[in-house]
């Protein structure tokens, strides 16, 4: 058992047994060695289920929305990206800070579970793509930090290369590329449901009136859906990469989100989401001197 | 001071603005690009000139140079002594309420005047050329050589002769040219700047 897991259990046990919290959100080990799904722990004896390893992908913050009315305080483990999700939800008035005990777990970068499929436990596994672009492995908000912070990697992520490649294409080539991607979409909405920036009570895609999005699965509707989603999370996306990870059809969604984030930074100045609670999302305010070349 | 009647005539001649004004916009744009400063912004308050330590010797004050450019009379500005007399002390740029930078304009105009062969004060230009020749040759500047050569070429061989021995005795000027061991790198810099289209003299 690794030291991280030991520390996690120690703190969780203390929090639960002292009554400081009534629920702990963490990760456990399931039937597959390369998956560490979320676990909800409310009894001290279940603390032993908690683990931390390189497959703790799930962002537990999203569950806090289900638990708004939970009585008592909730302890939640957060990696760097997850902590930005906490800020995202706080900023969107979806959760209450005082109901949370946030335990920061500096994240060394996770492994790609898809690459582990069919391999024996302990085999060499590729790093997860979403962690390659991570600029905030260390939690930005927490009540306790469980271990020392980790250095930020600065390598160029594959998604950057993809964006560069797309940028260099003609509009028709780009359109063809995205056509191929979006025609695969099966509209399972895993991307949306896992996203901490998608925290609407009722998604506009689910609405019958107005009928923003038709139910038919076709390219045009899929394009509408993904572009609308890109606009909705523009400036609010915390770049956790979960949407792309969970997409069963491997659509490179982070290329869109990263591109939009980069555009926004270029246009309105650096405004990485989920870092500063006081900073309003870039599309939620304006500057008199915003660029307007195109007007 | 006006020296003769001919100068009076030229000086007082009415300027036809029409041809110049057609040029005003392109001139303004090209200066913006090359000098990074926009003459169109100037509202002729004169603060640049008011603080200029050299303005007393200029044929056009810095403000007037900007005015010439605003009116599209760049040729006149290029021919002026002003652009050579500017000591680039930057007082004008520092105090300009419109963030126009006359010192930068002078720099750009000087480079352009030189390219067009319109050098109104040969002495300062000669000095700069000699200076850079030394840098290219030796990597560093040999000040005695510079002054001597300058005085020679500017036809005032005995100027500053009085200071030379004093300096020499005080160990302030080295009779031998300074150099760095391997000046290839500096020569290379000059060569590459030239290759990139610069003068690099």
């Amino acid at each position: 058992m690794n030291q991280h897991t030991v520390k996690m259990r120690e703190l969780a046990r203390e929090l639960l047994s002292s009554g400081q919290v009534s629920l702990v959100l963490g990760w456990e080990k399931g039937n597959l060695w390369y998956k560490s799904p979320p676990v909800f722990i409310s009894r001290v004896e279940d603390v032993e289920k908690l683990i931390f390893d390189e497959f703790c992908h799930n962002n537990l913050a999203k569950y806090l929305m289900d638990l708004v009315h939970h009585s008592g305080k909730i302890a939640v483990f957060v990696k760097g990206c997850d902590s930005r999700a906490i800020n995202r939800l706080l900023q969107d008035n979806q959760i209450k800070r005082e109901k949370l005990y946030i335990i920061g777990v500096p994240c060394p970068g996770l492994k790609d579970p898809d690459d582990a499929v069919g391999k024996k436990q302990g085999a060499e596994v590729k790093n997860s793509a979403k962690c390659a672009t991570c600029s905030y492995p260390n939690p930005v908000v927490y009540d306790a930090l469980l271990w020392e912070t980790v250095p930020v990697n600065t390598t160029k992520a594959p998604v950057e290369e993809l964006i560069a490649k797309l940028d260099s294409m003609t509009p028709d080539e780009r359109y063809a590329y995205w056509t191929e991607q979006f025609s695969r979409c099966i509209r399972c909405f895993a991307c949306r449901n896992v996203c901490p920036a998608c925290n609407c009570r009722e998604c506009c895609f689910d609405q019958a009136e107005p009928d923003w999005l038709g139910k038919a699965n076709n390219l045009s509707e899929n394009q509408f859906m993904q572009m609308t989603r890109a606009m909705h999370v523009a400036g609010r996306c915390i770049e956790c990469g979960e949407c792309e990870r969970v997409c069963p059809m491997n659509i490179p969604l982070m290329a869109i989100n990263k591109k939009v984030a980069r555009d926004i930074a270029e246009l309105f100045g650096e405004c990485a989401a989920g870092l500063d609670l006081e900073k309003r999302p870039p599309l939620g305010h304006f500057d008199l001197n915003d660029p307007e070349k195109f007007m | 001071m006006l020296k003769n009647l001919e100068e009076v005539r030229v000086f007082m001649e009415r300027i036809n603005l029409t041809p110049g004004l057609a040029q005003a916009k392109p001139i303004r744009d090209s200066l913006k690009e090359h000098c990074g400063t926009d003459v169109g912004r100037c509202y002729q308050c004169g603060k640049c000139t008011a603080g200029c330590p050299v303005a007393f010797a200029m044929d056009y004050t810095p403000r007037e140079i900007v005015r010439l450019l605003q009116l599209g009379l760049k040729e006149e500005a290029l021919k002026s002594k002003t652009i050579w007399l500017c000591a680039t002390c930057d007082t004008c740029s520092t105090r300009c309420p419109r963030e126009v930078e006359p010192a930068k304009l002078m720099e750009g105009l000087r480079q352009e005047a030189k390219a067009k062969g319109l050098v109104a004060d040969k002495r300062l230009d000669l000095f700069n050329d000699l200076f850079l020749q030394l840098v290219e040759k030796y990597g560093r500047v040999h000040e005695m050589g510079l002054i001597l050569k300058f005085n020679l070429l500017s036809a005032q061989p005995l100027k500053d002769a009085g200071h030379g021995p004093g300096m020499f005795l005080k160990g302030k000027i080295n009779p031998l040219p300074h150099t760095i061991k391997d000046n290839g790198e500096v020569k290379q810099i000059f060569a590459r700047v030239r290759a990139l289209g610069g003068e690099g003299k």
Binding site: P171, R174, W178, S220, F224, M227, K259, F286, D290, M295 | -
Partner: protein, 152 residues
Amino acid sequence: MSIEAVKADKAASQENWEPKILVFACNWCTYAGADLAGLSRLQYPPNVRILRVPCSGRVNPQFVIRAFQKGIDGVLVAGCHPGDCHYATGNYFTRRRYLVMQRLLEFMGMDPARFQARWISGSEGPKFQQVVTQLTQDIKALGPNRKLRDME
């Protein structure tokens, strides 16, 4: 001739194809500017259709995608000049939104000319004329839009 017939006619001869362009116009400026263009009898191509909104800030980017989905050839969002918004700040949000949106559309492979945004005030009848004329020319040059379109 019924609309269907008109449409069939169009489809039959690609050379006679005329683009259809949607203009989201702010009631207080661009709509009035277009009114002024009318009062001044300033002619422009009949391809543009104005949809009146109270403010350019009311124009949801989803409307724009929807229009492309349904087969529009070009979209213009037009509002008041910065500082002139009838509602103080609506157009500043428009500016931000559509700066992002335009880049997104381009990233998705749309031709930038298909979606444009402009400031046109109520006194700028001639500007309205000039903008929509240019826009129509731009889009004619591109041909019918097939991208994002619901082909079903």
